[in-house]
């Protein structure tokens, strides 16, 4: 699977000499576990705050998809659309979340694929149970996070989620991975 990705953004590039250098393995794992907890607990505003100002969030529709620009994606949000997505999640009129999903995530096999300056690319595996209206779904796959240490802590420059069943017929995906 390719680590390099088509869209670029400023936060993703390393800035040598930033305080503290790239996040280390323990910090990365702690960060991912914290992120999973925010999502499980429906704290979506706090989840959004983990992302950099020009971040993107991507769930491809095909295995080994190279770009979100020339092929459709289950989700491809630039920062502006990600904000809109999170705001909608808080709406009392989001019928696809009435009743709300309950989720449980496990993050494992965390490895740092690449690190330089104050940034690193982290690969992890996840399994996610989603329960809603008498039905439980299970999702699993691989996440890539680009994590950047800045003056206000670690932020996500981009996040890519490859579902093992990304090209299967799926019912609506509303709660982020």
């Amino acid at each position: 699977m390719t680590v390099s990705l088509a869209p670029s953004n400023a936060a993703a590039s390393a800035r040598p000499g930033a305080p503290g250098g790239a996040p280390n393995a323990a910090e990365c794992e702690q960060f991912l576990v914290h992120e999973a907890r925010l999502l499980d607990e429906g704290r979506f505003d706090e989840w959004l705050a983990l992302f950099a100002a020009d971040a993107w969030y991507w769930v491809p529709s095909e295995p080994n998809q190279v770009s979100p620009r020339d092929t459709v994606s289950l989700i491809y949000d630039d920062r502006r659309l990600l904000e809109t997505r999170v705001r909608r999640l808080a709406s009392p009129r989001i019928y696809s979340q009435e009743p709300r999903s309950r989720t449980s995530r496990i993050i494992a096999n965390v490895t740092i694929e690449q690190a330089e300056g104050n940034a690193c690319t982290v690969r992890s595996k996840f399994q996610l149970l989603e329960y809603r209206r008498e039905t439980q779904r299970i999702f699993g796959g691989t996440c890539l996070h680009r994590l950047v240490r800045g003056s206000d802590g670690i932020r996500i420059a981009w996040k890519r989620v490859d579902l093992v069943n990304c090209d299967a017929p799926l019912e609506g995906l509303v709660v982020p991975f």
Partner: protein
């Protein structure tokens, strides 16, 4: 067993019985009488460009292969071995010189004829591999309109162009928007599913009255979104689309129309326009696109092409496409309460590359499985499926706009305004025609204004 008289009793002026959406026996009859005879979209010629290219497709629940044969012709074959019935090809698409069954090695030509049978001496004397019944059987009829390929499981019936009628103009609109006059299926496919009846999908696509309710969460979220936040362009397109869904009823009723045509077809038009949506006229990408169109086709033809403003064009029974935005959806019935929808995007050949990026951004928000918009539509289809499992109300209302429907200049009927449910009544007329085998007689039961007075 459902008799033809029972079927006729399921549709009355301005209302329809819930059995159409919830009765497994009705569903099985639909597969036999509608999907077993109507022209069904099976793919686009650009997906099988070269001899040996094939694409897995289906009509109803039947697995088929769309193939470009050695002579360059288009074949539509049952994906089934003549020996023990095994599905021969398991991949979704590919390229091959022959088809070979993995069970006992029977091989077939690209046009479905049997090529070779191993261990032939072991078969009884009446076994003749030249018998045309020993083949991957061809679907009786296959035809294309401007690159869009349809198949019919019935040997006889109206031609494809007779079936499409005035809807050919919607296909023309889709293709004519390509500077080179050609489309290319590209950009992958969305497959979304819901637990509801297949008919609900098309019945929603021309429903101008639902966005303000169903999509309120995404409308509100988009309207409150600051435009100062970073976007690479894709989010901007999505947010513009969601805000557009929030147009007031006065806009829908004054600026949008609904047109319907014989055989169940319809389109919603005069809605979004190129100045407002995917690419605004002051967008440099769209200006480059117009320049490419004018260079290839001239100013006058370009103006005429781009002034056509159609939103969803629905081709009965299970196809819907958006000519302005190069989107196409195919609704596959799975069971009475289970549906899978495949959606495709098309590249306008000869247009600037960025135009296709805009198409992809649009696809993600309009057809995406994780879309902020579509997910609420899927919820509605599932809720209808749940609601109809109740033994409550027998009848569903489809009467909005009933008294105001008007004749159309091209042999159809149009709503007085876009919120008329005339397109649902029109689809159910076609349904009745297929289901009773009485296309001419029965087919006006739902829409006939003179029958408005009902007990």
């Amino acid at each position: 067993m459902v008799t033809r008289d029972e079927i006729r009793a399921l549709i009355q002026p301005g209302r329809v019985h819930r059995r159409l959406y919830s009765d497994p026996d009705v569903f099985e009859l639909e597969l036999e009488r509608i999907f077993g005879s109507a022209w069904i979209y099976v793919g686009h010629e650009s997906q099988i460009r070269n001899p040996g290219d094939f694409l897995a497709t289906r009509i109803g629940r039947k697995p088929l292969l769309l193939v470009r044969d050695a002579a360059g012709g288009i074949q539509l074959l049952h994906n089934q071995c003549a020996h023990r019935g095994s599905m021969v090809v398991a991949s979704e698409r590919g390229h091959t010189s022959e088809f070979r069954c993995c069970y006992h090695g029977w091989t077939y030509h690209l046009d479905g004829r049997l090529k070779a049978v191993p261990l032939q001496h072991g078969y009884p004397s009446h076994f003749d591999p030249r018998n045309p019944e020993f083949a991957m059987l061809r679907v009786p009829r296959v035809a294309s309109y401007r690159g869009f390929v349809f198949g019919s499981l019935a040997a006889d019936g109206p031609s494809l162009t007779d079936h499409l009628g005035y809807m050919t103009t919607s296909f023309d609109d889709m293709v004519d928007r390509a500077p080179d006059g050609e489309l290319e299926a590209a950009g992958g496919v969305f497959k979304h599913s819901y637990k509801g009846n297949w008919k609900l999908y098309l019945e929603n696509l021309c429903d101008a009255a639902h966005p303000l309710f169903v999509h309120q969460s995404s409308i509100d979220a988009a309207q409150q979104q600051s435009d100062d936040v970073h976007s690479d362009g894709s989010g901007e397109i999505a947010i513009r689309q969601m805000r557009q869904n929030g147009a007031p009823y006065s806009f829908w009723e004054a600026n949008v129309g609904i047109w319907t045509y014989p055989n169940g077809h319809s389109f919603l038009g005069d809605y979004h326009d190129d100045a407002k949506l995917v690419a605004a006229l002051n967008d440099p990408v769209f200006r480059d696109y117009i320049a490419a169109m004018e260079a290839k086709q001239g100013k006058e033809k370009t103006r005429k092409t781009l002034e056509v403003r159609r939103w969803n064009s629905n081709v009965y029974p299970n196809l819907s496409f958006m000519s302005q935005f190069q989107q196409l959806r195919v609704v596959h019935p799975v069971s009475v309460n289970e549906t899978v929808v495949h959606t495709y995007s098309f590249r306008l050949r000869g247009a600037p590359a960025r135009m296709f990026e805009n198409t992809i951004s649009f696809a993600n928000i309009v057809n995406g499985t994780g879309s902020l918009v579509l997910t609420d539509d899927l919820e509605i289809y599932t809720r209808i499926g749940l609601g109809l499992s109740s033994a409550g109300s027998e009848w569903l209302e489809i009467g909005r706009g009933y008294a105001g429907d008007l004749p159309d200049d091209h042999g159809g009927r149009r709503g007085k305004n876009s919120t008329s449910e005339v397109y649902i009544r029109n689809m159910l007329d076609a349904w009745l025609g297929y289901m009773t085998g009485d296309a001419a007689g029965a087919a006006s039961q739902a829409t006939r204004a003179s029958a408005m007075a009902r007990a």
